[in-house]
């Protein structure tokens, strides 16, 4: 359908799972480090609680990656990224699978051990949380770094690495950010918002740097990788929109949110709230769009069809977000409390 193949869905799912688990491990580590404050104030409990919640996001990423990995082992992926084409040979992909599959198996065992600790030894799990997240992050950094192995660290290989790793800091971190915002809305605790929102500029920095890593990796293979297709023009348009939207979201809107939670009792105006909701939806839709579209390189869409699908996704997610605010968040809140 539209030039999409099943194998490409599997490749995308693998990348999504690894990026999600990697981002959950990375931000879980940051939050657990922040919870080790010598003053042992309420922020320790809040950051520790948030860090523990991210373990479930890591498990979700693991579940997606595991299903995709099993299917992927039997299929031959071909990659394209950000509308920029550079296709690894089947041999390169097979070599990477041969190297990474044993590591994936060890990581799977470590996930099971972590889950067992979380379920049956919660005190120990809490004490070792930083170390557990460090180990997960190292595994995931390695696994996501090798979508293909050219045999040596040449420009193409650095392109594969940079173009794959950035997903942890971009797409994965955006999902983690949304997850944390959802939790803060669900539990309706001003204390959580007060400690969480000031972290947003830090998270934004990593997202910006992640996109920078991607730009640098493309620069390495510029002559080989550019192909002026409708997909290239569409993807570059979305990247431009992402930067404009991200600037507004991580700048004025984040400052308003932090200001609102610091001045207890004062809330953001409805216009600012609407702007925050819309920019948040555009952000997650755009990251999803460029990551998803990257894995489908025989798409038969014209530029306007790509744009129509993109705008439809934003409208659907915005409507879903509004419905979520009315109904399921209350359920999550009850559960979290």
């Amino acid at each position: 359908m539209f030039g999409m193949e099943f194998l490409e869905f599997v490749s995308f799912a693998k990348q999504l799972g690894l990026a999600l688990a990697g981002a959950a491990a990375f931000w879980g580590l940051v939050l657990s480090i922040k919870s080790h404050h010598p003053a042992k104030g309420p922020e320790c409990i809040i950051f520790d609680w948030l860090a523990t919640r991210l373990f479930f996001l890591l498990l979700a990423g693991f579940g997606i990656a595991l299903c995709a990995w099993i299917l992927f082992l039997f299929l031959m992926p071909v990659y394209a990224h950000e509308g920029i084409i550079l296709v690894p040979s089947q041999q390169e992909v097979i070599r990477a699978l041969e190297i990474t599959s044993p590591v994936f198996a060890v990581w799977a065992v470590f996930v099971l051990i972590s889950l067992w600790l979380n379920r049956f030894k919660p005190v120990l799990f809490g004490e070792w949380l930083s170390g557990i997240y460090v180990a997960h992050f190292i595994f995931l950094l390695f696994l996501i770094s090798l979508p293909a192995w050219s045999g040596n660290l040449n420009a193409h290989q650095w392109f594969y690495i940079g173009h794959s790793v950035h997903s942890i800091f971009t797409f994965g971190s955006v999902i983690v950010l949304d997850f944390l915002v959802l939790i803060s809305m669900a539990v309706r605790s001003p204390a959580i918002k007060e400690h969480l929102y000031p972290m947003f500029p830090l998270i934004s920095k990593f997202i910006w740097v992640g996109l920078g890593i991607d730009f640098l990796s493309v620069a390495l293979v510029f002559d080989d990788a550019i192909q002026m297709t409708p997909k290239f023009f569409f993807m570059q348009t979305v990247v431009g929109i992402l930067i404009i939207n991200g600037t507004i979201l991580s700048g004025p809107i984040t400052r308003k949110m932090i200001q609102a939670v610091r001045n207890k009792g004062s809330e953001m105006s409805k216009n600012w709230m609407r702007a925050a909701d819309l920019c948040g939806v555009i952000s997650v839709s755009s990251w999803f769009t460029i990551t998803f579209t990257d894995f489908f390189h025989h798409l038969t869409f014209q530029y306007w069809q790509f744009l129509l699908a993109y705008v439809s996704l934003i409208a659907t997610l915005y409507a879903g977000h509004k419905i979520m605010q009315l109904f399921p968040i209350a359920l999550i809140g009850r559960h979290a409390e």
Partner: protein, 50 residues
């Protein structure tokens, strides 16, 4: 009010969108490359700001 890094990133984003149009119309990547360099400058300022 925008900070310096935000202004740079905003200009980079707008330049990228126009740069893509320019690539399509003329085949020239100059504005596209300028936007990406400006993005790098904006992110560097953001990282090192207090």
């Amino acid at each position: 009010m925008l900070k310096l890094n935000e202004a740079l990133l905003l200009v980079a984003g707008i330049s990228l969108v126009f740069g893509v149009a320019l690539v399509y119309l003329t085949g020239s990547f100059s504005v596209w490359i300028f936007a990406k360099i400006l993005y790098g400058v904006g992110v560097s300022v953001f990282i090192f700001e207090k």
